[in-house]
């Protein structure tokens, strides 16, 4: 599986993502600077975590207007897999690639801890190697992860099975509506999630739960 990671000023989880992708796919991802105009021909484009533009205006708002986003939208339209993690999720919602918005955590604090995730839809390219209902561990580190969508949008994404991951067993760290931790677009090729699966991919991290997501993608791309 060929991959690329977009890097913005203020991205800081890009190296974690490079490492995880290289470890799991066996190939070094291509790094794409935000001012470039075209993405390479790959199976998966990742928008990594961090604090692009210092979270100025709204988290992800400025990055979502970067030159490279035009081609990201085109690639997403053509069916290429796109994964946004943390700030990447915020950027994808700001760019209109995913519905809803990420707001300040309900408890107002930055949360950096481990949560439990439930895979509620495993019939997707991002989650096919999970069991349906599987509860797994995943780290979170964010200030604006409180997912919000209006009632109509929420009903739509719930009815369409676009909610892939929910925080499980009362571990919702940010007050997100319906405990939503990760959602995909209606076409099923763009996923945004607040937790960091790239940080739980080898035994040094203390667990391998995050691997399952990347292994699902590898299997789909094979």
């Amino acid at each position: 599986m060929k991959t690329a990671v977009i890097v913005f000023p203020g991205s800081n989880r890009d190296r974690d993502m490079f490492h995880a992708l290289e470890l799991i796919t066996g190939a070094r991802p291509q790094s794409v600077w935000h001012t470039e105009s075209t993405l390479p021909d790959v199976d998966l484009v990742v928008v990594p975590g961090g604090f692009s533009y210092g979270d100025y205006l709204r988290s992800g708002a400025i990055a979502a207007r970067s030159p490279i986003l035009k081609d990201l939208v085109a690639k997403a339209d053509s069916g290429v897999s796109v994964l946004g993690v943390c700030n990447g999720f915020q950027i994808l919602t700001e760019a209109g690639l995913l519905p809803g918005a990420l707001m300040r955590n309900a408890g107002l604090n930055f949360v950096c801890k481990e949560v439990l995730m439930e895979t509620v839809n495993n019939a997707t390219r991002f989650s096919s190697k999970f069991e349906k209902g599987q509860v797994w561990r995943c780290p979170v580190a964010h200030h604006d992860g409180n997912y919000f969508a209006d009632a109509e949008t929420l009903k739509q994404i719930e009815d369409n099975g676009q909610v892939i991951f929910r925080y499980a067993n009362g571990t919702n760290p940010n007050g997100s509506i319906n405990d939503i931790a990760g959602i995909m677009n209606s076409k099923g090729n763009v996923l945004g999630m607040m937790p960091h699966p790239e940080n739980l991919v080898e035994s040094l991290n203390g667990g391998l739960d995050g691997r399952i997501l990347f292994e699902s993608l590898v299997e789909q791309a094979a």
Binding site: A106, L108, N146
Partner: protein
């Protein structure tokens, strides 16, 4: 021309920062508060003198960047 853009959260959107400010004001003894909502103000200096054109352009700025219309409303004032 001086313009002011005011961005506020839509009704029904939870505002934890507004709630925290509300609580802090209560703690300072300001007890006659029903609620506080936090918003943003942008002061924009616009070139030219055509108010209608400026307003149209500012609306585009709000739609494209200054506001996230999923959760926010905006109002434009031109002096």
């Amino acid at each position: 021309m001086k313009a002011r853009v005011i961005v506020t959260l839509k009704n029904g959107v939870l505002d934890p920062q507004g709630k925290a400010i509300e609580g802090a004001l209560g703690g300072l003894g300001f007890n006659d508060i029903d609620s506080v909502r936090q918003g943003k103000v942008f002061d924009v200096e616009v070139a030219g003198t055509d108010k209608d054109a400026a307003k149209a352009e500012l609306e585009q700025m709000c739609e494209k960047l200054l506001a996230n219309t999923v959760i926010e409303n905006y109002a434009i004032e031109i002096a």
